[in-house]
Symmetry: C2
């Protein structure tokens, strides 16, 4: 891209900012919550909207593929079959918006406040997907992209991408590419760009503990019958020791141990404990003994309670000894842990510590494998150079705490590596009330993506 | 009551059975859930219905007294001021019906199945209150009650009778009586009548644990920040040792220790462990070491989780590290424990074991004091003789596990003892889905109550 071409990109973005936002807002208004079946038609509506947006941006063709779950959107812009091909992956589904009462403005009524777009999915991942769609439009309007681009935008990322592996296997030819580009991660700060080069895997289980076969009056039966809430709490407590080390036998067996040098590199990333605690409103941090915060969230596996429910939780007091209690638990995995093995180890241990006074049922949800992506590939270097150009600073390679299980799956099924060039911030409250995405970040993404293609095509 | 009079009571009941049920069903249809403010007008409607029913039964006057919470219904039938006076206490409010999906038929659409009335409140306490109203009608229609009767039917029993103590203090003259009669307890079995002579007290607290100031993505922050669900579980676990002994310092200090003879007496009550476990569907019981089931539910204090909630509990998976988790906890107290002291001991201990990584908030709900009622009073003997006459067996004095805090309050404010002549069964699922009340029990109550008055008036 010549300097003139770059200037025309910038000026095209500048003169279309309002329309880009209006179009994104349309997408954000669709409550495409994949986890909850009552939103099924809304999820489908979001897929349609993504397809139409891709068509309007100028792809050659865009298609919707139904799956047993939510549909996949595929599109492509083939400039010349002899040129390189980039497969852009993203997702148009979003996390459930609960707890609703904590949102300052409704999750599906996007609003700009303090230069940020507030809406469920604004950052994760509708906003970041939309950067790619608009970057394509920009490129087509200013001379066309310098290589081929394919889009694979799915609707089940937030529920484990259950049907994507199958879709990928069935469409290997169509998905053929040289590299995968994904914007579903964060940078360290708006003045400190970074690129994720490692992602944790995931095991997600739901456990249910049943005591008596029906709810009892706690005054009549209390003290004589095992209370499933108490038992569940005791079992959860047994999952960690006093060093916050996970006690599941074999849990750490496959954990890749980093060298002192690697740990040293990792801990060079900007981190201010005082700021971190202040932002979270906590007086003290808590985690596995012997590791720093960056290590705890980057290279160590975790065991987290995501939800718990049992008995009466409404207003006022009810003296019930409930029949059941359940919890949702996720474990983040690091290389070389395997999701299926960890889920099995969890199941064996959790079952083994259940007292005879209760019954336990364990339901595994989706899992995902941890990955490490290369920092010496042409695509990584193209992304790093593009970010350096728009941010004015070399991006720092980081190990992200979150999981994008499909990265490992793509590697296995398509033999392709991914570049994780995300533009969000950890403070964007993705998965939380008041999720937002900075206007700076949205437009910075649209500006950076064409430079990635320029660099990559030239490499 | 002559044999002829008794026969006419029986025949009056026989010829009015259907109407009695129809009238009770009207009351059961009103969702008078005192714990939930959205039912406020329904609770008021139930009070009106009780007042009208008392008027139709033949009281001299019936009145509704508003309180800062739900109203109190008062009524009286004064036969002759020189005769003895019995104050009948009951409540027309009910427990919340959740979880709704476990009801076979809707909680507020009463239905008879297998000779039982299924509805929220059918046993606790609308059905038992209605026995008294209908017993009055029966007595008036067959010669009039042999003593004065006053009715005090409140609408806040299920939420701690917050305003009743104040009402009682303000209406001491109006409530003057010789004894209080309450039907809000159970008998051992339909062929084994019993009368409660001891009731446990209650401390009820809600605890909230807050970690970060907003919900976080568990992948990004998990492992580095205290998870309030995990911490709450760990704190709950610390409340009991491996003998299921409550660890709150000072908790047992005031517990009245029964003599071996008293424990022996108590353990003579019919109890079949195999049947008990089968009815509850549990393989093993669990409770404080060194005590029998009858002791654990009768003479020992307890610590029970009534509810717990935190994080995402909807369908599917959400990887959230929640900001808050809370639990509802009730402790049953035995003589000479004091509710206020126990709540304070709990608060001190729970606060002391909270790690610095979280904030804890404790909200005490209502409390109630434990009581023991005499077995050698004229009123107790009158009740025992009445039951013996209708059941054909002497009732067994038992120590109930539940709490009726107002019994201690009445003793303090009015100087009156209570007789706890209940007609429910422990298996009636009060406070649970599918609460029911046997037709046998309902009509047995209506038949027995007039005999109590006859015996008591003659004593």
């Amino acid at each position: 891209m010549s300097l003139t071409a770059k200037a025309s990109v910038t000026s095209y973005i500048e003169s279309n900012k309002k329309r880009f936002l209006d179009e994104l807002f349309e997408l954000l208004r669709i409550p495409s919550v994949s986890a909850d079946s009552k939103y099924k038609t809304e999820v489908a509506r979001a897929a349609e909207y993504v397809k139409t947006s891709l068509e309007q941006a100028g792809v050659d063709k865009a298609e919707i593929y139904p799956t047993p779950g939510h549909p996949v959107v595929y599109a492509e812009k083939i400039v010349d079959p002899k040129l390189k091909t980039v497969l852009v992956y993203g997702h148009y589904d979003v996390q459930p918006p609960d707890p609703l009462e904590l949102w300052k403005t409704p999750p599906f009524e996007p609003q700009i406040r303090d230069e940020k777009i507030y809406a469920r999915g604004s950052c994760d991942d509708k906003g970041q997907v939309f950067m790619h769609i608009k970057a394509l439009e920009v490129m087509i309007s200013t001379g066309g992209p310098p290589c081929n681009i394919k889009f694979l935008i799915e609707g089940e990322e937030e529920v484990g991408s259950d049907n994507l592996a199958n879709f990928t296997r069935q469409h290997k030819e169509k998905l053929k590419a040289d590299v995968i580009l994904i914007s579903d991660t964060a940078i360290i700060a708006n003045d400190t760009p970074s690129i994720d080069v490692g992602l944790r895997g995931l095991s997600y289980v739901e456990v249910e503990v049943t005591g008596p076969n029906h709810d009892l009056h706690s005054g009549v039966y209390g003290g004589a019958v095992a209370n499933p809430i108490q038992i569940l709490c005791e079992m959860i407590t047994k999952m960690k020791d006093h060093n916050n080390h996970i006690t599941i036998p074999g849990f750490y067996d496959d954990v890749m141990v980093l060298s002192d040098r690697e740990r040293g590199e990792l801990n060079k990333a900007p981190y201010n404990e005082k700021e971190y605690k202040k932002e979270l409103g906590v007086e003290e941090l808590a985690g596995e003994s012997g590791y720093t915060t960056l290590e705890r969230t980057g290279i160590r596996p975790t065991f987290e309670l995501n939800g718990i429910l049992g008995g009466y939780t409404g207003e006022g007091a009810k003296t019930v000894l409930p029949s059941k209690a359940f919890a949702k638990i996720s474990m983040r995995l690091v290389p070389q842990q395997k999701s299926e093995k960890i889920t099995q180890l969890f199941t064996d241990y959790f079952t083994s510590i259940a007292p005879k006074s209760v019954k336990v049922r364990i339901t595994p949800h989706h899992g995902g494998e941890p990955v490490v992506t290369p920092t010496d590939s042409p695509a990584y270097r193209a992304a790093a150079a593009a970010m350096e150009e728009t941010f004015g600073k070399k991006p720092i390679p980081t190990r992200g705490g979150g999981s994008i299980p499909i990265v490992a799956m793509f590697e296995q099924e398509l033999g392709l590596k991914s570049v994780l060039m995300g533009f969000g911030l950890d403070s964007d409250l993705i998965h939380s009330p008041n999720e937002h995405f900075g206007l700076f970040n949205f437009f910075k993404g649209i500006e950076t993506i064409p430079l990635f293609y320029r660099n990559y095509a030239a490499s």
